[in-house]
Amino acid sequence: MEGEGNTTYWQENLRLIFICLAIWFVVSFGLGLLLVEPLNAIRLGGYKLGFWFAQQGSIYSFLGLIFWYGAKMNKLDKKYHSED
């Protein structure tokens, strides 16, 4: 777990962050804002889909992302014996 282990740990962490932030961007800025008009043509019950992502869906996605990232990182911490 010396120098080299820490570098790989950090790179794996960066990769995870990148994936999470890409999803973070897509569900909020993508589906809730930039693509809202075409998505609004699709309905989810009484919700227009773009409107739903902006006011509901993005928040649920954020929650999923944080817990997924936390779980992945706990595994990574164990793998590199870095857990205190």
């Binding site: 009484g46 006011q55 649920y60 944080i66 014996h81």
Partner: protein, 578 residues
Amino acid sequence: MEELKLYTYIAVFGTFAVYFGIAWWARAGSTSDFYVAGGGITPLQNGMAIGADWMSAASFISMAGLIAFLGYGGSVFLMGWTGGYVLLAMLLAPYMRKHGKFTVPEFISDRYYSKTARIVAVVCLIIASVTYVIGQMKGVGVAFSRFLEVDYDLGLIIGMVVVWVYAVLGGMKGITYTQIAQYVVMIFAYTIPAVFISLQLTGNPIPQLGLGSTLADGSGIYLLDKLDMVVTDLGFKEYTTSNMGGTLNMFAYTMSLMIGTAGLPHVIMRFFTVPSVQAARQSAGYALVFIALLYTVAPAVGAMARFNLMNTIEPAAGQNLEYAERPQWFKDWEKTGLLQFEDKNGDGKVQYTADKTTNEMVKVDRDIMVLANPAIANLPNWVIALVAAGGLAAALSTAAGLLLAISSSVSHDLMKGVFVPDMSEKSELLAGRVTMTIAILFAGYLGMNPPGFAAGTVALAFGLAASSIFPALMMGIFSKKMSGKAAVAGMIAGIGVTMLYVFQHKGVMFIPGTSFLGDMGPNWFFGISPNAFGSVGALVNFAVAFAMLKVTGPAPSHIQDLVDNMRIPIGANAAHDH
């Protein structure tokens, strides 16, 4: 009516007695208790406390009201104030917890190895936090004026006194436990009326589902479709598609709130109170769970409040409400001056339209909607009383948390950290309390003439934090080479650009009459409103810092080692002093 008053007094005084009791029981004995609660709070408790701290008067009282009138445009608040937690959990909280200091400026002064960096960070932090407290004061004023049935200004003064007693007494330890109680009060106060109203309107008790359901009147029409029809008939913009100042403005606004969330010191400080790096990540998740409980209900509250308001004033096309027969809530809010009617055509009826010349609801302050909502829907009196208690809890808990952040930055970071290093713990606590008092007076004075609705004012505070603190912290962790001078230049450029833009439209430090361009759309840069400008400021901050890095050269190697050490969670100790 007397029954309502009685219930309201019971709810408000009952909950207040609990908060003060807890604050007294857990009162701070040392500076460590005062700032980080001695570091012994579990992630679940911490998440709840962050939730209460976070969900301020802006979230509880103001946000759903803004959504009610903005429709889809109000989404910026929903996404902006939740998405920031993703950034916190991944980009800042774990590493800052690993580093283990009390305050954000302390972190910045270690990472950027300079007292200048610390002073610049403190100044940025104070500007953002004070702006935030002004927004809270608007909420406090609305809540107290309604609750005590007095004028808004008097309500605000009473609120200032209560906030002062409460924040000065407690410190972080008291505040953390009190905030857990406040969270519970707040979430019940917010969701119970929403459940009732959702049941009434759609037959579905879950507001998140009710908003997407059909109306219970047997018409088979979806609630949102009906709302779109009602508002467009009166000339307002369609609820589910009404944009706020264009897509670019909404994009910038949302981004500004998100990165502002991750840059606000009173939230970041919370992550110093948990025992480990893993707990810091978990705390962010729990915090968002507790926040999402309210934030996913808010769109339903907003839409249903608008629906009920429209229906009360004009139950069917052309059958307008007689002013003489207006309901009690209407009269109550008229007393506060936040709701005003003017019978322009003299027919004794209420006309509410988008056309300024015929509209007779001359003032409908957005910030009254959540508090008025249960009464508009004819809910039982105890529900209305509960909402009053919840609104006060929201305003109090955040005001207290912010005042703590302000006082710690002045007493701990500026006085002890820079000017009077050998200050005793006792005089540090005293300096903290004096700072709180000054901040309350200043924010209260500006709360008399707030620069906007509570949520809008708070949005400005986020812009200021977004443009200064967030980039400095993020570069400090993710760019090993970032040098102190470059980061300082970035912070000054970022907040400078943002402040210049905000003040030229909203007045210098929001003092009325000092704005030199006027708060109007045509003068906005690419149509980006001052509330949304923090994201542009953040870009400027990053750009200036990286450009300056070329000039100053990289940070010294011991600082690069410090950053390496921050990045691995092993060996995190409790937050410590110096």
